[in-house]
């Protein structure tokens, strides 16, 4: 049912073509609608006309197959991490992750909890961190502008890093998820 072939290493394209595609990708980032934690409450004002995010080309899509960006809004428990990995691997390349809050950097205020992760970068490749607890809608838009400038310069390579070092990420993920029943690569 799943394709068990491991991912192919991505190749390089011509530079001018790369620049055009980067600009096109940066100006129309679509976000998967998944509220993983506390920070999801400040994603709703972004739709309204006060902090309009559609003027940057950002829209919310219900399915990961039609999206580019996954927003991890806050802490992650191990039960959610299993579902997030599945959603992340279903997003088509190229894909980016924006992490909100200090719980993703080094555990935040739940650093000694038995159910939340400490460092998100060990399990999924993060491109942009946004500060705040929780970040204001203006701060989230600021994070998206940083992501757009990174894409235009060609520095947002989290998805390539994930494909090339899949063994490292898988080993970390399997260490904390004890009942692993996902296929080796799910795309």
């Amino acid at each position: 049912m799943y394709c068990n072939k491991l991912p192919e290493k991505p190749g390089n394209k011509k530079e001018l073509w790369q620049k055009i595609t980067n600009m096109a990708r940066a100006n129309s980032l679509w976000v998967t609608a998944y509220g993983t934690g506390c920070g999801a409450i400040e994603l709703r004002p972004l739709h309204t006309s006060r902090y309009d995010m559609e003027r940057f080309g950002i829209a919310m899509r219900p399915t990961p197959r039609q999206a580019d960006v996954l927003i991890i809004s806050g802490y992650l428990s191990t039960k959610t991490l299993k579902r997030v990995i599945r959603v992340y691997e279903q997003i088509q390349d190229p894909k980016y992750i924006v992490a909100l809050g200090s719980c993703t950097i080094n555990g935040g205020m739940y650093f000694d909890s038995y159910n939340t992760l400490n460092v998100l970068d060990r399990y999924l490749p993060v491109d942009v961190y946004v500060m705040g607890c929780m970040p204001r809608p203006e701060a989230i838009i600021d994070g998206f502008i940083l992501l757009m400038s990174k894409i235009k310069e060609g520095r947002a390579e989290g998805w390539k890093h994930y494909k090339e070092n899949l063994d490292y990420y898988r080993e970390n993920q399997k260490k904390i998820i004890t009942d692993w029943d996902l296929p080796d690569y799910n795309w």
Partner: protein, 187 residues
């Protein structure tokens, strides 16, 4: 109001102890074999028909779990708490899920968090909050959550702490951190 309820309960259970009484709020402690009978008597004869919560406190120094049933009377807006100590090893408490269907959710959670078994609960043993948990029940007092978190999720980079003495030490000189307490007369 609470006086009448207290008198009736004292007539039936002469060994009960009063924990707190305040207007319409009453908290009593009975012995373990009489606890379910007290709860059912409160429901049928004294009008406390709603079960709000089943809670447990781990009294590890006495070797017991103190189970508390919190009942409410909607017509007179009164609250009744009934507590009973149960032994800590192989704890078994009769289940009330046939009378109140919501009790099965409370009992499932206590089974997962403390290891208290409620025979008679139709959904006992199903995963409620944790998934793939293999250690001892986490809410017990002898479970160290910080150590578990450091072992499972790995080291995190904490903030750097600087000693103010290296910046203002030569201006202020030596100071005594217990000076405030000495001035107030505490130890």
């Amino acid at each position: 109001m609470a006086d009448d309820v207290k008198k009736e309960l004292e007539m039936r259970f002469p060994s009960l102890k009063l924990v707190r009484e305040l207007g319409n709020y009453l908290h009593i402690m009975v012995k373990a074999p009489y606890s379910v009978e007290a709860v059912l008597m409160a429901k049928t004869r004294l009008g406390y028909g709603i079960l709000q919560l089943i809670s447990a406190v781990d009294r590890i120094e006495d070797g017991v779990f103190q189970i508390t049933w919190i009942l409410e009377n909607y017509e007179d807006s009164a609250v009744l708490l009934i507590s009973a100590p149960y032994p800590r090893e192989k704890c078994r408490v009769p289940s009330l899920s046939l009378i109140w269907p919501a009790a099965s959710a409370f009992e499932r959670e206590l089974f997962e968090m403390y290891g208290i078994s409620f025979p008679g609960n139709p959904r006992e043993g199903e995963d409620f909050l944790l998934e793939g948990w293999t250690d001892i029940p986490p809410m017990r007092r002898d479970f160290d959550t910080e150590k578990y978190s450091m072992e499972k999720f790995g080291e995190r980079q904490p903030r750097e702490h600087t000693d103010p003495r290296q910046y203002v030490g030569d201006i202020v000189g030596e100071w005594d951190t217990t000076l405030g307490r000495k001035r107030r007369g505490e130890k």
